[in-house]
Symmetry: D2
Subunit: 337 residues, 4 copies
């Protein structure tokens, strides 16, 4: 961490600052320039409150050199983390396909979709039981009942299940869910992150609508610092001024995250665009960019979906996507095994 001290300062103030920094167990290196003094803070600076330093009268600016996350940082864990969900591995060259409907509607629907996506190559089954909807008047999901239907369908066809949690109050209900998803709107619901950090279960952490890569990794750090190291990151688009698509999928984030963290990273091309006809090109693009998996909405009857039908593929379209990405996977040294 670098602290730039203003030219006009009292020596006493500077001494106090240096003493305070040393009190945190850090070393201080000083460089005196013409217009400012630069202090280099050496040691573990993750616990230094950058806002506090910044508030001091004599401080001009503060710049972090070291990343503020540790458990999620590739510098300290050079090997890829491999998250294993009942034998299906994410990361370390393994690529997985998660598929299923946006909303869980009925037992028949779930079992039909589960069979169809399994046949087309999916390794995990997804489905929304608790639905985060902008409007209180929109369908909020089948909730507890939806969870039951999802788990039942997963067991029936032999696919582990992934679904979103929306409240710390519901944690017990998710005991038989294989991967718990934290949605974009809850990426900084810190109390929820702490609670899922206490579980022994993989967590799929979606990127927030307007969150930086660093904030995203800090949310992973919240989960990991409580003991749960099985975090899968999921890019799903960020909010920009462009209004043609619902969100702007940020595929540069994938190769960048591969440098910054050892955690697996997948992409959700369905929610990113909100348009089913963009799912195939964005899926291929995601694989080309180096993703460790895809989460795709597939429905057996898109016209009648209770929500978000616009972004769902039919099973045969999903199968077409799988065939194409199978050609790209070897180029990025990945396998669907």
């Amino acid at each position: 961490m670098i602290v730039v001290v203003k030219k006009e300062h009292e020596e006493k103030q500077l001494e106090n600052l240096i003493d305070w920094i040393k009190g945190l167990g850090l070393e201080v290196h000083e460089s005196r320039g013409e217009n400012s003094i630069i202090l280099g803070l050496i040691g573990d600076t993750t616990k230094v409150d950058i806002d506090l330093l910044y508030s001091l009268d004599i401080v001009d600016t503060v710049k972090r050199i070291q990343e503020p996350y540790k458990d999620a940082n590739r510098k300290f864990h050079p090997e890829d983390t491999i998250v294993d969900v009942k034998g299906h591995k994410f990361g370390g060259g393994h690529f997985q396909l998660i598929a299923g409907p946006c909303s869980i509607e009925s037992e028949e629907q779930m079992i039909a979709v589960a069979r169809a996506v399994k046949d087309a190559g999916a390794n995990l089954l997804r489905g929304g039981a608790f639905k985060p909807r902008t409007s209180p008047y929109a369908f909020q999901g089948l909730r507890e009942h939806g969870l039951d239907l999802l788990i039942k369908a997963g067991r029936e066809v032999g696919l582990p299940v992934v679904t979103e949690i929306m409240s710390v109050k519901h944690i017990d209900l998710f005991r038989d869910v294989d991967v718990i998803q934290i949605g974009a709107r809850n990426m900084q619901n810190f109390e929820l992150l702490k609670e899922v950090g206490k579980l022994q279960k993989p967590i799929l952490l979606k990127r927030g609508l307007a969150n930086t890569i660093e904030e995203w990794l800090m949310s992973a750090e919240y989960i990991m610092s409580e003991g749960n190291k099985e975090v899968i990151l999921c890019e799903r688009g960020i909010r920009t001024f462009e209004s043609y698509t619902r969100n702007t999928l940020d595929l540069s984030a994938i190769p960048l995250l591969k440098e910054l963290t050892h955690l697996p990273i997948i992409v959700d091309p369905s929610h990113a665009s909100g348009l089913s006809r963009l799912v195939e090109p964005l899926s291929m693009a995601s694989v080309g960019a180096g993703a460790d998996g895809l989460m795709i909405e597939v429905h057996n009857n898109p016209k009648c979906a209770l929500c978000d039908g616009a972004q769902s593929l039919r099973p045969e379209q999903f199968e077409e996507v799988v065939k194409k990405i199978d050609v790209i996977l070897p180029l990025v040294n990945k396998t669907r095994k």
Copy 2:
């Protein structure tokens, strides 16, 4: 709501669509143009799933005409809502000042700040007990103990208190808090919104980092649709590409919200900029733009704040701000009484 149907469509599909819309209790008006057919949906369209319509093959585009919120909509409630907190009124020409430290640290601190801000003109006391921090390693607040200190200080000096809730699990702890704040990161924590909607207590709803005005009003609608009509909106800056300030304060939102909703709207200039020296000019700007109140961070010892000290004013600086806004208030037909 307007549904534009593609030129190339089968008549049967169009008939089905029109029947489905009529089944929702809406009337349909048809305009046939050269390149498309425009359907005008007349009636209460708040419950129509716009994504579903959009997903249909024959639909080119869908545009909402009517706002999707009702309880928060000025069209249906032309009179200003006045939220009364122990005699301190927000809205309807009444202007309130909320002040206090970012974090609650000790009993002495809270009582000292409470006295200072009351003397300087504040009507409500704020203070952070549960702190939403990006890093799990940063100070998370005194939590339950902090709530006690805040309430005690408020009672001691005679100021109602405002503080942030971060989890549905903590609702019982907030029983003696006068105004419950929903922070920016929880603006779309829908389960929390529903829970506070069941309380009989004013809710201060901050705008999310990257949320539109419409989404913000939909979150107010979540609270109101559960029965709690006492919502105060609080603008606190949105996320943009500009990195000099922490957020970009969106003051155009104030006069716009005055048209769209009957709810009171206040501004938090401290969090918006993250810089204490911007609080005075942004406070004056907010009052000029028509805000119904301000929430300002005041600390008796900014250098030692445990967090966010950079954005806190000293009591004498706060007093200076109050004097200046008192000159502007009559121009916008508002009073601090």
Copy 3:
């Protein structure tokens, strides 16, 4: 175009509005609802001033249904436009590689790079002669002399050349340039667009830093409406709150543009990220998303580049990229011939 008229209006005002619209040669269809009257404007609405309509007292809102561009619109030109640059075709299933250094530095450099990129598979040579730099103190390019060196190198090795123009004053200097590039910062330099629209030469139009897809197509329309139909669009990243990369590459734009327009669309992965190690994954992603070409910075000595070295590949790295995209091209029905 849809005009929503407020419930409270005088009949005389509405009549005047309808007469004015009809005076523009448009038909008007009226739908009367409970809370508003909806006017559907039928005909060529590209010339209607939407802001003017919006300014009228009785108008609640105005929504465009038809796209405001015509020459660039796929609805009116369903077939792909193929831009042919000395036998190298963009669009219609043809894929091209443009490569070369960020800045032109010397004759030796240009000829060496030109040979290297040609050997690696490039079809066109790029190089910056006039450089748009944020700082007046940064290297501004070799300007006229740079153009000469570029053209000479192109002729020597047999590659058509692409380079950026920055002023209407320089148009004569570009007479021997094969493709004129309009940079992101000049995407809405309308006087420049009109001038290049009068030429008989392909124009490579980069997307502006913060421009929507619609605005981009309107800039293409500026060029096309002056008579020059040979426009190649180039996505190069948009500005968002994410600061890790210089820009956020918007790959969703590619399949969307394929629907909206018949013009070829290529991607510049070098400028988008500003990091050479992201060029390979983003190139593969771009091809997967359906791009008709790539423009990649290649340098024979990246360490000594006078500018933007951070984003340049070495020739052998570029060759590696070419090999990988050759595997993906058949999946998207494209060929490098």
Copy 4:
């Protein structure tokens, strides 16, 4: 400037880097930490190419400490620059009002508006002759003829005139214009900036749609480095995800710019929102935030404006705004004299 060198590096590479930096006339201070080496570059770093440094294999990151602008930097020119336009002063406590129509339409219109705004308190007359329009089919302004009408009206009523230039080719036409405006879309038209930098005439430099404060000051630096020191900055809103207003007015920029630069800064509340009913509240907010002037669109017949009528005030509305800001000006130590 701080250069962080990676832990894994060859000593020879580091030596080369240090020699290269010293070759630029800078001193280098070294701090060796556990995970990295920090180099502090002391001296005039405005000419160091940050991208080049960043491209070196051994460099982890580079952070600028000193601002990259000099002529515009308050550190080197602590006193406010006062730009004097025929006796009307901007900056140094002086506040000016610029008013007039969006587009110049006819001699009668211009003289009528000029009289009306002068009577209401305006000190300068504005009007658009060359109009930057997104669509080639929209009204492009009366161009040369518009300039004549504007200058004639200004002379007739005794107001200096302000109008926008769109091309380096038009510079001679602007010889009798008192203040030349560079519009948002041309803020980084560097060739145009250099040309107006050679004039002896005040330049009104609008902020680009998606430009940071630093880039804006770098564009001012382009003008100033050519010799013209009379630059007035004009905030007009930036592009964000919020779609309710055309742009988000960034009023935090005003107090920040007051710290960073000595140049006067005004606000254009008409273009920012695009809605005339927001002009009054945003004007008051701008004055409260510390602006040195306002540029407001006023029309004598808003319904018939050829463009942008939605954002124009009537003269009597403008007069009302002037009365209100006159109450606020003393609070910010400014005077309209």
